[in-house]
């Protein structure tokens, strides 16, 4: 503290608390809505405090789904799909990026610079922009309605490769030299030295990519037509579009709570890794 100005400090607290309240308000209302019955949520003004139907609503949404002839897919299934997709995207990205970064940093081979640029230009076109032709490619490969179709097309990314490249460049040369002198093969050096050293980087990247994979929306929306492959985020949005026909706000909001819970939990409980991952992937 540079100086003591009680009023300014008070004002700072006030502004931050106000900010926190405004930012948390939508989540609070979502939670409140998920604990009332259907009729209560249709009378405006809706209540601002939680009701008594929490377990009932969540049980119905998890086990039976939205019901009433609508999308009858139980939410535990979409949660499982989201989990598979998020883990697949996070682990897949880390796996392919760490080995390609290893090759680019620790080997000299013809064409190396072309591979580097080929990876780099993927930054230029996010999947939302090239969505139509990418859909066409995935369809012609017969990957619609499959986990590989959900995961593989979005795991090629330059950011993860660059992050590992950056990290490998900061690893002292002496380590590779020592490994070479001792007759260790490159892969042995990778497994026994480089990989253990990269633990924190991997963990930070995992947190970011897990959230990225979980929150994918457009991609699963396009390539899944079977309900058994729906992810929870798209299930929420599909249901929201139909909410005027079957206005079960309580169930919809219970669904939204479940869709937010895993990534928010990851951010809150692994805050340090999350911040690190966020800051470093942007370098």
């Amino acid at each position: 503290m540079v100086e003591n100005r009680p009023f300014v400090t008070f004002l700072s607290h006030l502004v931050v608390i106000l900010g926190v309240i405004i930012i948390a308000f939508p989540i609070w209302m979502t939670f409140v809505a998920s604990t009332h019955d259907q009729a209560t949520m249709l009378r405006s003004p809706v209540p601002l405090l939680p009701g008594k139907h929490l377990f009932e609503n969540y049980r119905q949404i998890l086990v039976e789904g939205f019901g009433r002839g609508f999308s009858g897919v139980p939410i535990w299934m979409t949660l499982m799909n989201s989990m598979i997709m998020a883990l697949g995207v996070a682990l897949g990205k880390i796996a392919i990026s760490i080995i390609s970064a290893f090759a680019i940093v620790y080997f000299r081979f013809p064409g190396r610079i072309y591979f580097f640029w080929a990876i780099f230009v993927t930054l230029m076109l996010p999947v939302e922009v090239r969505i139509v032709p990418t859909y066409g490619v995935v369809a012609s490969l017969g990957m619609l309605d499959s986990y590989s179709g959900l995961i593989v097309p979005i795991i090629a990314s330059a950011t993860a490769t660059f992050l590992f490249r950056q990290f490998f460049l900061s690893v002292p040369d002496e380590l590779a030299e020592a490994a070479r002198v001792d007759g260790a093969s490159p892969m042995r050096f990778f497994w026994d030295i480089l990989l253990p050293m990269s633990r924190t980087t991997i963990a930070a990247l995992f947190v970011i990519q897990f959230i990225y994979g979980w929150n994918q929306y457009l991609w699963p929306l396009l390539i899944t037509t079977k309900e058994s492959f729906y992810t929870v985020v798209m299930a929420v949005s599909r249901q929201a579009n139909a909410v005027d026909a079957t206005p079960s706000w309580n169930l919809l909001m219970a669904m939204a709570m479940l869709a937010m819970l895993p990534p928010v939990a990851v951010v809150v409980f692994m805050q340090r890794l999350f911040v690190r991952g966020l800051v470093e992937t942007e370098k």
């Binding site: 540079v2 300014v8 400090t9 700072s12 607290h13 502004v15 931050v16 930012i23 948390a24 939508p26 979502t30 809505a33 249709l42 405006s44 003004p45 809706v46 080995i99 390609s100 680019i104 080997f107 190396r112 990876i119 230009v121 993927t122 930054l123 230029m124 076109l125 939302e128 922009v129 969505i131 139509v132 032709p133 066409g136 490619v137 490969l141 593989v152 097309p153 090629a156 460049l169 590779a176 070479r180 490159p186 959230i211 979980w214 994918q216 929306y217 457009l218 985020v233 929420v236 949005s237 929201a240 909001m253 939204a256 990534p263 928010v264 805050q271 911040v275 966020l278 800051v279 942007e282």
Partner: protein, 293 residues
């Protein structure tokens, strides 16, 4: 930067880059190539024949008033998202930086909206402002404002901006806070000893030193507003009412999938690609510049 020590292997490095290169070729270069090719083709409505039309799709695009409306909308939209988002998060970061030694807990409460999917964020805000049951819409009605984002285009745009900013605030906040905390305390103390008050210290010392962070965030926020807000728009308004919230990235999707206009949609994608290349270029220039700070 290059490594001094490297391994000598003939085939191993190719094997190691293969997975990423193959995925990039199949799911990036192939579709991107198709997109560029399609942008100079005109396909008849049954998808059977297509013929090469040079730049007709682009000429058509640039003479299309609805495309211009969408481009203008996107500029207004990204200006609003970036300016409001940056202003709010800078304010919160400066205030949190003042109190952070006492209360690190605030950070936890401000970082998690980042984890909420844009589509879910759209659903949440749609619920708050829902004309029949939304609590904020009800409050606004109480003070005489009729808020109906389903029928009023400007209100729909406003709501999309609010939801998009809400989703992005934590990201900006974290970067601003990191930037503020990296400013040497001695500078601030020296200014305080010289009699500069908190406001003066902010404008004359912290703000200029934060400008690299701010500039970086500006680019990121524009990119976010252009491309990252698809889920918010789709969940909240589907580009409507009318064309009131059809930003460019939504139009690509709409024309390509709903309108089945592959040539036009591809031409739009190519235009957006140029925008990203320009923004990325600007950002890289900035990163070079950062070295001098």
């Amino acid at each position: 930067m290059e490594k001094r020590v490297t391994f000598n292997e003939r085939w191993l490095p190719y094997l190691l880059v293969a997975p990423q290169i193959i995925i990039t070729l199949v799911f990036f270069f192939w579709p991107t190539g198709q997109m560029m090719w399609q942008s100079v083709l005109l396909e008849d409505s049954f998808g059977g024949n297509s013929r090469f039309v040079w730049f007709d799709n682009f000429v058509h695009l640039f003479s299309d008033s609805s495309y211009f409306a969408s481009a203008r909308l996107t500029i207004v939209f990204s200006f609003l998202v970036a300016s409001i988002g940056l202003a709010v998060s800078l304010l919160l970061a400066v205030m949190a930086d003042r109190v952070i030694r006492g209360a690190t807990g605030y950070k936890t409460f401000l970082v998690w909206p980042y984890a909420v999917a844009p589509a879910v964020a759209g659903v949440l805000w749609g619920f708050l402002f829902n004309p029949s049951v939304g609590v904020v819409a009800w409050l606004l009605q109480g003070i005489g404002i009729e808020f109906n984002y389903v029928s009023n285009g400007n209100q729909a745009l406003l709501l999309v901006v609010i939801a998009a900013v809400w989703n992005q605030v934590s990201y900006n906040f974290l970067f601003f806070l990191a930037g503020l905390q990296s400013i040497p305390k001695s500078l601030i103390e020296a200014a305080a000893i010289d009699g500069a008050g908190p406001g003066r210290r902010f404008w004359d010392i912290m703000f200029p030193l934060l400008s690299p962070t701010g500039f970086f965030l500006l680019v990121i926020n524009i990119l976010y507003a252009f491309f990252g807000t698809f889920g918010v728009v789709d969940a909240l308004t589907k580009g409507g009412p009318g064309q009131a919230t059809t930003i460019l990235v939504y139009k690509v999707y709409n024309d390509g999938f709903r309108g089945q206009d592959l040539g036009g949609s591809s031409a739009q994608s190519v235009v957006l690609m140029v925008v990203i290349i320009l923004l990325t270029f600007v950002q890289f220039r900035f990163i070079e510049r950062k070295v001098h700070y």
